[in-house]
Symmetry: C2
Subunit: 232 residues, 2 copies
DNA sequence: CAACTTATTAACTCACTAGTGAATTAATAA
DNA sequence: TTATTAATTCACTAGTGAGTTAATAAGTTG
């Protein structure tokens, strides 16, 4: 019986339990919100999914919106910092001469890898992000808040890679990129049916294989055409 | 006082009133749903917006989901048929030799024109469509139901324009196109802030000027790279 | 104008939601 | 072991949501 009780308690201390429960709630909420949206999920739904009483959600999270924010923030900071780091590395690496493809790969592939390797939690978060990105009211603000630094860094690289192009073209190009990325992350299953099963919604590897190439060509075409417009 | 009462009552017969009210309700619902989503809007919200008692919504529309479907369907059939017609015209016109850009313009520009010229109602519908497209549960089904014919027609044109390419590349390319289009239609305001006001979310003309060019180049790049992979 | 039909509202039901505060149980520390 | 604190549930409250049914108003038709 002369076990623990000393300074450091063994496993499953209260603090640990707390942390675990919070994670469980966040996971459940992440899953449900990603499928039904903020208003399509009740606190009871979340509690039921975790297997606890619904008031426990209020105990850990002030209110519903705070829970939603916490869900989003948990992984947003991770992917944001990760991409920021990779973009910075690329900036150094390219010695002041970035390419469109290099910049896009640092941005896109880094993110896609996370969803490819990260398991279900990350996939659910991705789908949630896709919803938020397409939500006019508060969605854009959430995106701004968490992703502006990364995105502006990418934009600057693209500007450097395309020095003669109009800024608008860069911004619109980026807009197309996010749109395509967000629909990918949403994994709606539409492409599955459309292609008769040939393509799978959740196949981020297939997307990674094509997306940077596709988008790079798009940028180059728009910037070329518009800096030296073609004759009709 | 010897007014009307004759066979044909002047304006505003009951049937007309009915039709007008239904339109008013649909417009209000369209606006609200496009901003807050299906679950973010109550029938009371809609009724209040129109200025009628909330049970009137139940009178005209069986239930909330039916109202939502009616809102979506109203314009979906119009844009769907319109694009189908233009794609068919292009098919004839190109004499069996479609180009990627030609096909994409028939698809994209035709749609964008509608939102450019169609007024607020069409813009709201567009934003609603963007939300639906990114909604996993029932969203993809709604898209399938209304847009499969048009989309498959576009896909066939693209296949004909890129006869040596893998089908998957075409489908993923189309996927990128819709993603970009949907985020455009969502008009979240994000690009406005990001670009410091240089670009405007609702500026579909700017999108139209760039999108087909951008996407065409993307298709060509992916299909070229992958039918004859580059040496690294 | 009387009978009928349609549009609209009022009153109400039933299910459910978020959130509170007290009670209970389990863990931890003195 | 006892007092304290944290985790969890219970019992409620106040409010909202969708939808039903009945009543009323307005319009239409024979």
């Amino acid at each position: 019986m002369s076990v623990e009780k000393k300074s450091r308690p063994r496993s499953s201390t209260k603090a640990e339990q707390r942390a675990e429960m919070i994670e469980k709630i966040l996971d459940a909420a992440e899953y449900l919100f990603s499928r039904h949206g903020l208003y399509g999920v009740t606190l009871k739904d979340v509690a039921k999914y975790v297997g606890v009483h619904h008031t426990l959600i209020n105990y850990y999270f002030e209110d519903k919106k705070k829970l939603f924010d916490a869900v989003f923030e948990r992984r947003a900071v991770i992917t944001s910092e990760r991409r920021l780091r990779v973009l910075k590395e690329y900036e150094l690496e390219c010695g002041g001469k970035p390419t469109v493809e290099g910049a896009l790969r640092a941005f896109l592939d880094t993110d896609l890898d996370l969803y490819i390797e990260g398991g279900d939690g990350w996939k659910n978060y991705a789908a949630l992000g896709a919803q938020v990105a397409n939500t006019p009211e508060w969605g854009a603000d959430m995106m701004d808040k968490h992703f502006d630094p990364v995105v502006l860094r990418l934009i600057n690289l693209l500007k450097a890679a395309l020095p003669d192009s109009a800024e608008e073209d860069i911004f619109w190009g980026y807009h197309f990129v996010t749109g395509a990325l967000m629909l990918t992350l949403a994994r709606t299953g539409r492409i599955d049916k459309l292609s008769g099963g040939l393509c799978k919604s959740g196949d981020f590897i297939a997307v990674k294989e094509r997306m940077a190439t596709f988008m790079t060509a798009g940028f180059l075409a728009v910037c070329k055409e518009r800096s030296a417009p073609k004759v009709s």
